[in-house]
């Protein structure tokens, strides 16, 4: 069974979630492409989730994604619909495309809906018991030829496959958030993963125009293998700094150092909030268990969860409060663990603490400005060179962080999580939108 045949009936389990909806958007566009080329064939994308209202949101989201694609590709689309005499204006063609796309979709809260699928994407909660239970149930419903692609970001694939009895029909296919934007897919094969599935996964990646980076089947893989430890370092620094600057001051310092001094798209605590403090905690637990590494834990994370602060996003994509408090996705406050409430950032406080952090290197350009800059490499070199000559708290913390980040990345190669330094760098630049890989010559 080739990919085109498998794409005639596909299911996404956990489709209403953040990752599931993104995967559904990508797959639905590819299925619609095939449908327009083969109008006589029937295509069905089953979008399954336990969350009924989430499915309503998903319907709106997928409609908006079809609309977006239609508007963006209208020049090509007019040619695809050239034989439809009734469609003349761009607006009519856009409507037709959106309608044709919506016709592919089958929303359901029942796993049974997946029974005819030959390709199943799983993007449910990052909990191995739930995943195994779901796979076991699916296995009974679908044909023996069905392939499964899991979006797990931490649970070893071989383990999941074995516990679910999938006989090599499972592959790790880890998209990054949001899947329609992020170029990266981390592909994880277990020793038993079937060759046909590996080939199919590469072909699909090409069609979705994703950058596929192979990671070995070690819990956390490359992405979380790096991110968790990177986050833990920042949390340790907070513990070290909080005596002098208070907890919220230390959070502010590390967040700002990672964003501005290290030129990342967002500060480390904003990123943890974005992912969800609960998700962060959950992934740490998975990794701690599978890697038998007790250091993969942090008391500040546990305290935040205990205080009921979880981060993550609302269904409309806006940011929930976490380490930071947000107003229209901009940080306006910082959680004060001691008092159990948010400390609101004032200009006066900010000026004072920024003064203690020290100035940014001369000629500083923010992440966004450097992203499309042709002379990005040269400017990054200058940035870090200048940083080294500065004797400020900000510069010192940044260089220490840069060094630690590199060590983490190098250990992923050493421990054979990644096959090469390039693969680690590819994950951080394509999946986390860093301007540079952690294994670099800046330190």
């Amino acid at each position: 069974m080739n990919l085109d045949e498998r794409l005639q009936d596909v299911s996404v389990i956990g489709a209403a979630g953040k990752m599931g909806s993104g995967i559904a958007a990508l797959i639905s566009q590819e299925m619609l492409r095939l449908k327009l080329e083969n109008p006589e064939k029937i295509y069905r994308l089953n979008l399954i989730d336990v969350n009924m209202s989430g499915l309503d949101g998903l319907r709106d989201y997928l409609r908006s994604q079809f609309l977006r694609t239609a508007e963006k590709t209208i020049v090509v689309l007019r040619k695809k619909y050239k034989d439809r005499a009734d469609l003349v204006e761009n607006a009519e063609i856009v409507d037709a495309y959106v309608n044709d796309g919506m016709k592919l979709l089958n929303f359901s809260t029942d796993l049974l809906t997946a029974k005819n699928s030959h390709l199943v994407f799983e993007a449910i909660i990052e909990d191995e018991k739930t995943k195994i239970k779901t796979y076991k149930a699916l296995k009974k419903l679908v044909s023996k030829e069905t392939f499964f692609l899991t979006n797990t970001s931490s649970i070893p694939i071989g383990y999941l496959d074995e516990k679910s009895g999938l006989d090599g029909r499972l592959i790790g296919y880890h998209f990054y958030n949001p899947p329609v934007v992020q170029k990266l897919v981390e592909v994880i094969c277990a020793p038993q993963t079937k060759e046909e599935l590996k080939g199919l996964a590469s072909e699909l990646g090409r069609r979705l125009r994703k950058t596929l980076v192979p990671a070995n089947d070690i819990s956390g893989f490359i992405g979380n293998g790096h991110f968790m430890r990177d986050g833990l370092f920042a949390l340790d620094e907070v513990l070290r700094l909080k005596g002098k600057y208070k907890f919220y001051g230390a959070i502010y310092i590390m967040n700002r150092v990672s964003q501005d001094f290290l030129l990342r798209p967002m500060g480390i605590f904003q990123l943890i909030d974005y992912v969800g403090i609960d998700v962060f905690q959950c992934i740490l637990k998975v990794m701690r268990t599978h890697l038998k590494d007790k250091t993969l834990k942090h008391k500040l994370i546990d305290k935040m969860i205990k205080a009921g602060i979880r981060g993550g996003q609302y269904s409309d994509g806006s940011q929930k409060d976490g380490f930071l408090k947000y107003d229209k996705n901009r940080p306006v406050g910082i959680y004060d663990l001691k008092n159990g409430e948010y400390f609101m950032i004032t200009d006066e406080w900010k000026n004072k603490i920024d003064k203690q952090i020290g100035p940014l290197p001369e000629g500083f350009a923010p992440w966004k400005a450097l992203l499309g800059d042709k002379n990005k490499d040269e400017k990054l070199k200058n940035h870090f060179r200048t940083l080294k000559q500065m004797n400020t708290m900000g510069a010192e913390l940044a260089l220490k962080y840069l060094k630690r980040t590199k060590e983490i990345a190098e250990s992923l190669v050493k421990q054979k999580v990644a096959n090469s330094a390039d693969d680690v760098n590819a994950v951080l630049t394509n999946g986390f939108y860093w301007l540079y890989g952690p294994i670099n010559e800046y330190v």
Partner: protein, 415 residues
């Protein structure tokens, strides 16, 4: 009978800002002024320059397609909204695609020639940022032949029509020189717009305009021979101008020295259902210009300033040929050599043109007239070019559709 059997003057010109991408105050996500705002701002902008608005006899408004962009028809009804003087007076809206403004000019002049009016307020308006460009392209495609051309046409119908022309011109006269001339046209447009605070490209501070304009076209997302810099932008804007007979000028209290004289015009129509006879030239524009020169009794070299309809850079180059400044195929070199710059042989589109000022379609013809009037009166601000007393004429050429509907008007500085 002489072509113009009495003297007609234009005065009190006013242009609004051309709003759209590129202007700092433009935010596509925020609400913007509606079409009535533009009509009123431009109309009052003109009226406030005269002493006796009560003596205006009629209103003429040019607009292409507000029914679709703004869901608004019956635009004549906005004249009494602009000023109470229009209550129960004749007001009319005229349409001829992107030449709607041009048609508003000639309709105003003809109304005065008919002796039924001495003073006419002429407005042109279009508000286009109400929809995304691909839907706007649908609306603007109405300037072509819908049942004969649209289905097989490109998503960006008009850019593609002029891309075809650019391709044909390149094939016949040389690809590189044409491409460079188109880029130079863009450079001139932006440089002129930077001197015009009302221009859509006024805030453009790109340090390397020429190379930007040389961007390779991408037929998968746009057109085969045009990049986006070759195209005028999507704009909201309006312009207004008052036309008056000699008697009319007195009635509204405007001195002749503050007005310019209309010495000739030509209004020329081609068949919308037939393809252009020659893709490499603007045949109808050429006929119109020739006719206007004959009627005025002047030659191209008598002009000190020129306004052409550069909806696309290639249209600008061909319009220079159609206006008689360069032979067929020589327009590219003429532009490349800087002869259309504000310090060149024939300063052209001195306030930015359609590419630099913007192209609120129905307003454009009126905007061109306003700018010619300002130049001849020495009121063009930083855009002012030298008006040689031996060459006291300015000319505009306004085009609708694919060289289908054309108005050329020649103005002369009053004695």
């Amino acid at each position: 009978m002489a072509f113009l059997r009495k003297k007609i003057y234009a005065c009190a010109g006013y242009n609004t800002v051309a709003l759209g991408t590129g202007r700092k105050e433009f935010n596509p996500k925020k609400p913007r002024p509606g079409i009535e705002h533009y009509i009123k701002e431009a109309g009052l902008g003109a009226i406030e320059q005269i002493r006796n608005p009560e003596n205006i006899d009629e209103g003429v408004i040019g607009n292409f397609i507000a029914e679709r962009f703004c869901r608004q028809g019956n635009l004549g009804g906005f004249f009494p909204f602009v000023h109470p003087t229009f209550q129960y007076k004749p007001c009319i809206r005229v349409e001829g695609a992107c030449d709607s403004g041009g048609l508003a000019l000639v309709t105003s002049v003809k109304t005065i020639l008919s002796d039924l009016a001495d003073v006419v307020l002429c407005i042109g308006v279009e508000v286009q940022n109400t929809v995304k460009a691909l839907y706007g392209a649908d609306y603007l495609a109405a300037a072509g032949w819908y049942s004969g051309e649209r289905k097989d046409g490109h998503a960006y119908f008009f850019p593609d029509k002029f891309s075809e022309r650019a391709g044909a011109y390149m094939k016949k006269f040389g690809e590189l020189k044409t491409r460079e001339a188109m880029a130079q046209w863009y450079v001139n447009a932006i440089e002129n717009a930077r001197k015009n605070p009302k221009a859509q490209e006024y805030h453009n501070n790109n340090p390397d305009l020429f190379n930007t304009a040389m961007t390779k076209p991408d037929p998968n997302t746009f057109c085969e021979f045009l990049n986006v810099y070759d195209c005028s932008k999507v704009s909201d804007g309006a312009s207004a101008l008052i036309f008056a007979s000699e008697e009319g000028l007195k009635k509204i209290g405007v001195d002749k020295k503050d007005a310019v004289e209309i010495v000739a015009f030509a209004q020329v129509q081609d068949n919308i259902t037939t393809p252009p006879p020659d893709l490499t030239k603007l045949t109808t524009c050429e006929v119109a210009a020739r006719r206007a020169y004959e009627r005025a009794g002047i030659k191209p070299e008598d002009l000190s300033v020129l306004e052409v309809h550069d909806c696309f850079t290639i249209a600008g180059i061909m319009a220079i040929e159609a206006a008689g400044f360069a032979g067929h195929g020589e327009g590219a070199d003429f532009v490349r050599e800087g002869k259309t710059r504000s310090d060149g042989i024939i300063p052209t589109n001195t306030t930015g043109g359609l590419i630099g000022y913007g192209h609120p379609t129905g307003a454009t013809g009126v905007r061109q007239a306003v700018d010619i009037v300002h130049q001849l009166l020495g009121k063009a601000g930083d855009c002012q070019v030298k008006i040689d007393p031996k060459r006291p004429y300015g000319m505009l050429s306004s085009m609708g559709g694919n060289d289908k509907t054309v108005v050329v008007m020649i103005f002369k500085k009053s004695e």
